[in-house]
Symmetry: C2
Subunit: 332 residues, 2 copies
């Protein structure tokens, strides 16, 4: 018997722990090609908020009373698929559960000698890949340019600022606490606390590229600060995900024409053909310790909703994860 | 003695005829390389509004009490430059005057056998080139796509809709009067009057590309209607040029991420290297009558301010021009 978290109600506004409940699940036999995985790390990610509204966007919504799939890293307990074996570390989309059955072909095997397995949910996983795609494919950053990243201490943001530093950019980042700002400064980022300093002031010397994780006021400040031919990689807008009424956009949209800005939205899943290129460039940086993989870790499946809700309170520094089991393999 | 129009006060909000005055100017002798041009057609263009505010943007502001340079087509009265001769039709930047002295190297000679000289201010000039750059370089339109053009009966818009039709797109266009809508329909455009029909309804079947001349509500409607991977060529925002307070942007900016939109502003003067490519493609369409060059023509230098103010009232169908002299050459 294992446990999973299900959606018990569609969140209104900011997600509450009460919008979820823990449920026991039964084991079942494996069919050919299937694999039983015991999760070690469960990921909570801001994009999951959109899937809870019940509106079909670029990814199917979660159903009330149903499970919440998403990124998870675990170990194989039993396998009926040729390319994974008992004991393997694997990345799955099993989501918010202690264990589950996955199709073997949908698992990515992880080599714990190359990088800590949990990084497959962070700097070497979807968030890191998102950062890399946004900087390279979308914003086309160049050495010597000035980049501004909002939500810079988050999973995507902290990968973006570090990748950009390694590519020779000058990087400005914002975050919501002094501790986060201090960490960002230790990474060589010109960081500021957006609760104390207005982005407008922090960006007064101008920027070439804005990596937008936040939307709202930060986007307006970036439009004002962008130099001619500036680019915006529009990754997300966490400040808006819980809006119950749509908020107006920036008052300075005219800069898009006047400064010939390019504002481009992207969803990382459109770019998976480039995942190996990403790993080839960023993998060594992680292995060599040039890219720091900070994590905020909670414990226990029952705390996944708290971890998720915490994303919108800014509880995490780096990647938010929940440990739902020990590293060492054992029966489910 | 000839006359010119000068800026007598910086317009507050919508430009008024009283913001300008007509002044007499003296002749002067030509220096080497200079040319005396008698204007036949003077152009009024929406972008000139921005130059009247006194704020330096991508082009120098007009000064109070000073002349208003801009596109004009005229005939050479006297030349001290080897490549233009008396009687030649030329495009200049002499602007709102009956005659003036220009550097010969800054003039473009026009061949009246190829196209009516006034088209050098419209479909074969800056507005037409703006339309072509927006469609090709910025929005990268493809045969079979659906394009929406706001301000579709204006100088840029009417070129954009026709070029797009000739390139095999399905074209929707909006304008502010039934007469304009009728004209657009005669061009094969699915046209609607935005004062009577909401863009949201007119675009309900979805669009791939939006050519934005207007900004404001139309941009919000376009964000809602754009299909995944849609593009916006942000050319201008005539609905906002006279704002005294900045207005908020679209309430649905989240679509930029969710639908992976690309919103790109552009200024045609960045693209002059491609002007010959433009003329090679669009010139024959004008010569063969496949692209209709509709003009709204006022008469007399004293009516240039009225023509200009009329742009913001939607007085023009096609290119707004003022005839300030006869076609045939004569002394100034």
């Amino acid at each position: 018997m294992t446990r999973e978290v299900v959606l018990s109600a569609r969140p209104q506004g900011v997600p509450q722990e009460g919008d979820f409940e823990v449920r026991e699940t039964d084991e079942r036999d494996l069919a050919d090609g299937e694999v039983l995985v015991r999760n070690v790390f469960v990921s909570v990610d801001p994009y999951m908020r959109g899937r809870m509204t019940g509106v079909r966007t670029y990814v199917a919504p979660y159903e009330v009373g149903g499970p919440i799939d998403g990124g998870a890293v675990g170990r194989v307990v039993a396998s009926k698929h040729e390319s994974v074996a008992e004991g393997d570390w694997v990345l799955s989309q099993l989501g918010w559960c202690e264990a589950g059955v996955a199709e073997g072909k949908r698992l990515r095997r992880l080599d714990p000698a190359l990088a800590a397995p949990s990084t497959a949910l962070g700097a070497l996983g979807m968030p890191g890949f998102t950062a890399w795609i946004g900087l390279t494919e979308i914003a086309d950053v160049k050495e010597g340019e000035t980049l501004y990243v909002s939500g810079a201490a988050g999973a995507v943001g902290s990968a973006a600022v570090q990748i950009a530093k390694l590519k020779g950019l000058h990087v400005i980042g914002s975050a919501g606490s002094d501790e986060k700002v201090e960490w960002l400064r230790s990474l060589g980022v010109e960081a500021f606390n957006y609760r104390e300093t207005r982005a407008k002031d922090a960006l007064a010397d101008g920027i070439d590229v804005y990596f937008d994780n936040v939307g709202g006021d930060q986007l307006e400040a970036a439009f004002a600060a962008l130099r001619p031919f500036g680019r915006v990689a529009a990754c997300g807008a966490i400040s808006r995900y819980n809006d119950q009424q749509p908020e107006p956009g920036p008052r300075n949209m005219a800069f898009i024409v006047g400064k010939r800005l390019r504002v481009q939205g992207f969803i990382v899943s459109d770019h998976f053909a480039r995942f190996d290129d990403f790993l080839r460039e960023v993998g060594p940086w992680v292995a060599e310790g040039k890219l720091e993989c900070r994590e905020t870790m909670l414990e226990g499946i029952e705390n996944v909703p708290t971890a998720f809700a915490g994303l919108f309170r800014g509880d995490n520094t780096g990647k938010m994860l929940v440990r739902v089991g020990p590293d060492e393999p054992s029966g489910v």
